[in-house]
Symmetry: C2
Subunit: 133 residues, 2 copies
């Protein structure tokens, strides 16, 4: 199977698949013409990677997860631990974004949004302490 087919089946761009080979996540064989030649196991790995990436795991996490997947003697605790650390990072990001969202929403609600120049958003950015809690 060529990269185009694999791309269509896995939903991953060909660029991404080549990149994954570059960094050693997959090792497809080569045909005589130099084309990458993918087998079912490669497809399976790519699908695994696609799902792990969709859950937000980093490439290095993916590498570890794949290693664990292929390690018959793994402990599920290791997987769970990795996932929990990842969850903590997600929660931190959500928290950051939520705080930005709250602050920005309040400012937006205070802005008239008309053709006059007065703007609480700019006032806030410029360092006016609004005094409102």
């Amino acid at each position: 199977m060529n990269i185009g087919d694999v791309s269509a089946r896995s939903g991953l761009p060909a660029k991404t698949i080549r990149y994954y080979e570059d960094i050693g996540l997959i090792k497809p064989l080569r045909s005589a013409n130099g084309y990458r030649s993918f087998v079912a196991a490669d497809l399976h790995k790519l699908a695994f990677l696609g799902r792990a990436r969709a859950l937000g795991f980093t490439i290095e996490d993916c590498r570890t997860l794949m290693a664990l997947y292929h390690d018959e003697s793994r402990a599920s605790a290791d997987v769970k631990h990795l996932a929990q650390e990842h969850l903590a990072k997600i929660e931190a990001k959500i928290s950051d974004l939520q705080m930005m969202h709250n602050a920005l929403t309040e400012l937006v609600e205070c802005c008239a949004g008309d053709d006059r120049p007065d703007c609480p958003i700019l006032s806030d950015l410029s360092g006016i302490s609004s005094g409102m809690t």
Copy 2:
């Protein structure tokens, strides 16, 4: 004022301040010895940038916001519009992260986390359709 003082007062790393000059966000004067020489207006701009960045605005957004701030004839609608677009992006990111969080939380909760190899997280990643809703 030298970059170290400005860094301490603004809370921005010296690296960041130099970068902001590189990309034209600030234009501090130079002393005879080649050191950057910051005045109050520079400090004010950096504080503005720091707050805008803390709200998650991109550098290009910051550039626009500063231009609007210095434009006496601006319409607050323009500022509000920019902020609302940014808010929409924040909401999209939160939504993405929230979905990851939900999916991952469910998987983590189903994982025993002991020394046995069986792991629903890996099963899911490998493509097992759990059938559970």
